[in-house]
Amino acid sequence: MGSRLSVVSALRAFLPARAVLHEEEDTRPYECDGLTAYRQLPMVVALPETEEQVRRVLELCFSMKIPVVPRGAGTGLSGGALPPGDGVLLSMAKFMRVLRLDPRAGIAVVQPGVRNAAISEAAAPFGLFYAPDPSSQIACTIGGNVSENSGGVHCLKYGLTLHNVLRLRGYTIEGEPIEIGSEAPDAPGYDLLALAVGSEGMLMVVTEVTVKLLPLPQCARVIMASFDDVEKAGQAVAAVIAAGIIPAGLEMMDRPATHAVEQFVAAGYDLQAAAILLCESDGTAEEVDDEIARMKAVLSQAGATRMTVSRDEPERLRFWSGRKAAFPAVGRISPDYYCMDGTIPRKRLGEVLRFIAAMEKKYALRCPNVFHAGDGNLHPLILFDANDAGELHRTELFAAEVLEKCVEVGGTITGEHGVGVEKINQMCVQFRPDELELFQSIKRVFDARGLLNPGKAVPTLAR
């Protein structure tokens, strides 16, 4: 282990002064990511600009046995980029170039610090786009998306980050270059890409990502449907799937969530509804006409009390704006909020919502809900005031009970935000000791010293 001074001076041998931060006023902005309840000043922040610099930072940290935590934009919601107090916060923010965009091949090769939305912006002139769209997409980076295997509203139809990434380049903690995947299908050997995507920065540091680009749908329309009962809305979701329809997006918001966002963005949401569904169709004009008609029929049969179909692109974006702004919107009505992320089989939605309502009473905290209903991925938003120690504690208990409920009904503790530090205890609920031990063994294959993002995602067996 090195002292701050020795690490700084070793880094300054190959990094310019602007790329090595160690004074508190300079490192403070890196003390947390989107999970602001957890903060830790890093010993040093390194901001490399080239692959060679990344390699040397890792080599140095490996030899000095210094922990390294990679970071993209710091928008993560599970504390995955929480810095090591005794280590290096490795910011990939300067890796922000689109290196190659090949419209004929339908791929883009980008650096990890490129914003998710920036990829689609670069592809748009060619009639292409990058499909996974986490709600933080104007800020989050593709490197972060790879680390978490991020989803988003449109992943129901277009898949997760894993389904849209072809290849990764990067370095192991020892500074050894590693290439995983291929622009050709079915790379030989084990599917290391599946292992690396979603590995929360614990197996390698990514320096280049090759993503798939898809043709932009000719048109897209969204139905906003109101329901007078949350369970009916949940059943409507199942009915859409049962009808053989895979919407481009299928989202639900309950009344408290709808009220919060309507004040924020005035999207025209039905404030009387117990729940609203946003059900989108995209494709060619013929496909969308056909699909919207079928969706309307199913939703109507399922008891929708009101339905509106977007008439043009600005209206479609307006309908979505509330859902996409759900988190900041609740930020307006509460000093703090804790965004949860669990996935459950769709058919258990009603049961889990009733459970959450019961927890609201038990812990005397409000909890609006938004869901990627098509995937069963819920985001309960527990509202609290961090200045009240009692509320923070009750929030954590509330959250733990909800996640455990998700596992109990056959789901998982995290659909897309990752485990990070936030859900590390619940990993012991979802997995047995043998399985956790296997995860640790996999980790050791890549990082025997446990220096990359330690203390995240996979609990040690002492827990």
């Binding site: 090949d102 009639g127 389904h163 084990y190 996935t343 789901g411 998982t412 995290t414 485990v419 296997l438």
Partner: protein, 347 residues
């Protein structure tokens, strides 16, 4: 039905250092390197565990006949979106996942691995472990269940797997156009940049075949745009199952390349699939030349079917990649008894 017999068998084999040959219906015996070891027949553990059409997931035990799973899905208007080849009547659900092979629909729908949601395995120490689950949005822990897809039984016995399913398309139509390979590649790339409901393409011997799948109006509109002649009967099952006469050749190479790669200048007949990303090569003599040609364009070649495969069926891995592979193999199968050598000599 319990995993205990498998667990005991594997524990015992690990203790004695004896290789086990995990085998279902034997329909993929020809694939990969020469199988060896004492037979462990996975067909004794069979049955559909759960299937929820509205949840878009099917869970089945390894020995379940693949045809049984597909029939059940078909009855409910659903399918395995990656359209796996069976290569024989006895293909099993577990073997399908372990072989990791996808069929004609792969280029549009995705690969087998994309649809794996979870798996229960028995590892090389005889431990029963579960990873993933039955839901698509699941990022807890490392993606071990997807890692197993295509591992050819070298990481563990896949006892049970959960796969995402999708609705069958409402309408399907196949068309035929005549053109040489180079123009076929150009044409397929042009189509790929447009939102056309193309679910499969094949080029062989001057003919480009294309399958359109989707809603009735979408298929009709696309057919009008693409032109060509209607193609009947449907050729896709024969292509998928290698019943088409082209595939009778030996050796048969499976060359995967970026779809924009130019035609491969190699001797022997070729059959292209997946928009040009998959190029089958029949009867080519020089293996080294095939591998080199594939690598030069950023792809890789597998000796898919041959009488003589002692040089290794799969494209060699670089030293860094092999180190990781050996590390992972040691984690799952420390005694090295599960299908040793089937994927690579070192694993």
């Amino acid at each position: 039905m319990t995993l205990e017999p498998f667990q005991e068998r594997i524990r015992d084999a690990a203790a004695r250092g004896v290789a086990l040959r995990l085998r279902g219906g034997g329909t993929k015996d020809f694939y990969g390197n020469e199988p060896r070891g004492e037979m462990l027949d996975t067909r004794t553990y069979a049955g559909i565990v759960s299937y929820e059409p509205t949840e878009l997931v099917i869970t089945a035990r390894c020995g379940t006949p693949l045809s049984e799973a597909e029939r059940l899905l078909g009855e409910n208007g659903q399918c395995l979106p990656f359209e796996p080849p069976h290569f024989g009547a006895g293909a099993t659900f577990g073997g399908c996942v372990a072989a990791g092979l996808s069929g004609p629909r792969r280029a549009s729908a995705g690969a087998l691995r994309d649809f794996v949601l979870g798996a229960r395995i028995v590892d090389g120490r005889g431990r029963a472990l579960a990873f993933g689950g039955q839901v698509m949005k699941n990022v807890a822990g490392y993606d071990v269940s997807r890692l197993l897809a295509g591992s050819l039984g070298t990481l563990g016995l896949i006892a049970e797997a959960s796969l995402k399913v999708l609705p069958r398309p409402a309408a399907e139509r196949s068309l035929r156009l005549e053109m040489p390979q180079e123009r076929a590649l150009e044409t397929m790339q042009r189509w790929a940049a447009q939102p056309l409901p193309i679910s499969a393409t094949t080029w062989h011997d001057g003919e480009l075949l294309v399958r359109l799948s989707g809603s009735t109006p979408a298929v009709a509109a696309a057919a009008a745009k693409i032109g060509g002649e209607p193609l009947e009967p449907s050729p896709w099952a024969a292509i998928r199952e290698h019943a088409h006469p082209f595939f009778a050749a030996s050796p048969l190479w499976r060359v995967a390349v970026p779809p924009v790669a130019p035609p491969l200048a190699l001797p022997g007949a070729q059959l292209l699939e997946w928009g040009g990303a998959l190029r089958w090569l029949a009867g080519a003599g020089d293996g080294a030349a095939v591998r080199e040609a594939a690598q030069r364009v950023g792809g890789h070649a597998t000796l898919f079917r041959a009488r003589e495969k002692s040089g290794g069926a799969f494209a060699p891995l670089g030293p860094a990649a092999m180190r990781l592979h050996r590390g992972l193999k040691a984690v799952f199968d420390p005694a090295g008894i599960l299908n040793p050598g089937r994927l690579y000599a070192e694993l």
